[in-house]
């Protein structure tokens, strides 16, 4: 993975010094909260429901054990001994003190981490495929491109006061494990006539008005990726709406202009921008790409797994994915134990996962947008020992992609933007469906919960989605069916009137019963829904 050189270190340190000074000026009253707010947001510091919340960047979801140990240290020293992994592969701490923020950023900088641009109207964390470098289906590792984009977007002088936030995802496989089509820019590295290029999808997003990003350019030469992105951003910065915060994302601009007109404007800008020398030479890409060379994995490592422990076998079947190198596997660690809080991990659990990565995964971990953790390069022979360690720590829930593998935003328990609590709903659903046999019978069922219309829980992209709303002062939950954030991208459809906290759990059970009664062989829930439509499900829910 990427290691900072002296320039990267200097930039992060300068940012720490800048923010420390801004905090000092705020505490001394030299700047108001109104002036300070965009500055602290550009350093990932929110003023949230209970305290300041700090969102630490995990660039394209990749980190090593040293960094993971630091995240545990921060949880222990400065917070309440746990962290929350997010739907953009970052980590959040909910109980941060402003006066501690500079010291925390210094600690992070010491292990090449930061909270730069994890909030604010600027380009956010570049996300990617959590199985990059390990999955057989990728045409190349997308992360060197993500790193190139990260540096290009960091402290970008023209794009730090955009109309609204800007999220970019990069993948390099047909299977979309990063919800790329639901980003402001989604880049898919593709192959055409023996060459690699970048397909640019621009204008996706969830929130109030979910939209799937249309294809704006099917093949940008990789050498031109940054200048093309620059052109896309410049058109947005100039013409994105600034009159209404709910219409300020690029998806609205593209929707209002139409994809063709937006493309035309980008092409025109790109023709100009290309001549500015923005694109780094191939030598820079090669310098970065060299650091993503896959670790030396012994392809002759034993390929069979001793499945005599039945609990271990269950976990292997559900949570262990195939690695491109024989004798190896990808371990998916679920942070969704029944009764737990989706995406949360204690400092002890974070330390354990760091240790396992160092010992068994060539010192690398990934954070997924489904709020889980991945050990990407594990020997099959080590799986049992890993599972035992995970099991002792409460990290061996064998529910990857099952109904209890819920994506949930923090909701009203933590977030001042929320209208309803999301975590108790997630817990009740997981409890209702806790029987693993039942979950496996239901199969792949991606359930996503948002506590408000901002959709941080990606409810539009859930096979089953839940949106918490405020209905005359009480929490109410709307049900959506048929969304997907994968390559079969679609937006969920609302079923009808909402439910209270217990009602929504019952409604979901009626939905899953209907699915079981209706499906044909091999159909996932979302496939059945797409085949038969909303009507039979609506009937089952409301009678």
């Amino acid at each position: 993975m990427y290691k900072y050189d002296e320039y990267d270190h200097a930039m992060v340190e300068a940012r720490v010094a800048e923010f420390s000074d801004q905090v000092r000026r705020r505490l001394a009253g030299e700047i108001t909260e109104d002036q300070f707010k965009p500055l602290r947001l550009m350093n990932g510091l929110y003023l949230q429901l209970h305290a300041y919340m700090l969102r630490v960047a995990v660039p394209y979801g990749t980190l090593d054990s040293r960094q993971m140990h630091m995240l545990a240290h921060i949880a222990r020293k400065y917070d309440r001994d746990y962290g929350h992994f997010t739907t953009r592969q970052n980590i959040q701490y909910n109980w941060i003190k402003l006066e501690d923020a500079p010291a925390i950023l210094e600690d992070l900088a010491s292990v090449e981490m930061h909270a730069i641009q994890t909030s604010g109207n600027c380009i956010r964390n570049i996300s990617s495929d959590q199985w990059a470098g390990a999955a057989a289906d990728e045409i190349t590792d997308p992360r060197p491109w993500a790193e190139l984009l990260r540096q290009w977007s960091s402290f970008h002088p023209e794009f730090s006061y955009l109309p609204r936030k800007f999220k970019i995802a990069v993948i390099a496989a047909e299977e979309d494990r990063a919800a790329m089509r639901l980003h402001d820019i989604g880049i898919q590295i593709v192959e055409k006539d023996g060459q690699h290029g970048a397909a640019f999808y621009v204008g996706g997003g969830m929130g109030r008005t979910p939209m799937i990003a249309p294809l704006i350019k099917d093949f940008v030469p990789l050498d031109d990726m940054l200048s093309y992105a620059e052109a896309c951003l410049r058109v947005y910065n100039r013409y994105g709406r600034r009159d209404n915060i709910y219409k300020a994302r690029i998806k609205i601009l593209i929707h209002e202009l139409g994809a063709d007109e937006y493309r035309r404007q980008v092409e025109e800008e790109w023709a100009h921008v290309k001549s500015l020398g923005i694109d780094p030479p191939k030598a820079e890409f090669d310098r970065i790409a060299k650091q993503f060379t896959p670790p030396a994995l012994d392809a002759s490592a034993p390929d069979d797994i001793d499945r005599s422990d039945p609990d271990f076998a269950v976990w292997v079947d559900q949570n262990v994915a195939a690695h491109k190198v024989p004798g190896h596997a990808i371990v998916n660690i679920s942070l969704k134990p029944v009764g737990g809080i989706p995406g949360d991990a204690s400092s002890a659990q974070i330390d354990l996962m760091a240790d396992l990565a160092e010992k068994h995964s060539h010192d690398e971990l990934r954070v997924t947008h489904a709020q889980n953790i991945v050990l990407p390069h594990v020997r099959k022979a080590d799986l049992y020992a890993i599972w035992q360690a995970l099991d002792t720590a409460g990290l061996a829930t064998p529910n990857l992609d099952l109904i209890s593998d819920i994506i949930a935003c923090p909701g009203l328990d933590y977030c001042s933007l929320a209208n309803a609590r999301s975590i108790p709903v997630a817990q009740k659903i997981a409890a209702r469906f806790s029987d693993l046999g039942r979950q496996k019978e239901l199969g792949e069922l991606k359930l996503k919960i948002s506590g408000c219309i901002n959709a941080c829980g990606h409810h539009h992209a859930g096979h089953i989605g839940i949106l918490g709303v405020d209905r005359k002062g009480t929490e109410n939950y709307q049900l959506l069916l048929g969304g997907s954030g994968a390559e079969d991208v679609s937006l969920g459809t609302i079923t009808g009137p909402g439910f209270d906290e217990d009602g929504i759990v019952d409604a979901i059970e009626r939905v899953t019963d209907k699915y079981l009664a209706t499906r044909t062989d091999g159909e996932r829930f979302v496939d059945t829904f797409r085949r038969v439509g909303m009507a039979p499900f609506k009937e089952a829910i409301y009678g």
Binding site: L27, L49, R80, I96, L98, Y414, R421
Partner: protein, 98 residues
């Protein structure tokens, strides 16, 4: 009743105006009546509070209770982590929120 609330600038903790000072505990909160805006402006200007705002509440035997569930969660702590609330030893504390 009207309650004045905000966050402590340095720590971020939720605070409640007591009539004379800021407290972490909503039981200490005073009814600011029609004077809330003036107090808010003075306290914010002096940096004794950050992001203050006025909410509706009702007086109950247990003390002031905010009208909106969001502020009740602010007052106590997350309903899903009783151990992180201001009343970790009280198993019924969450009922007050809901």
């Amino acid at each position: 009743m009207k309650l004045l609330t905000g966050n402590d600038l340095k720590t971020g903790f939720v605070t409640w105006w007591t009539g004379a000072d800021w407290s972490l505990h909503i039981e200490d909160a005073a009814d600011v009546g029609e004077h809330g805006e003036a107090i808010l402006a003075a306290e914010e200007g002096a940096r004794r509070v950050n992001a203050p705002y006025i909410i509706a509440g009702e007086q109950t035997p247990d003390g002031p209770r905010p009208a909106h569930i969001k502020d009740r969660i602010r007052a106590l702590g997350p309903t899903v982590r009783p151990d992180l609330t201001l009343k970790p030893a009280d198993p019924n504390a969450g009922d007050w929120v809901i």
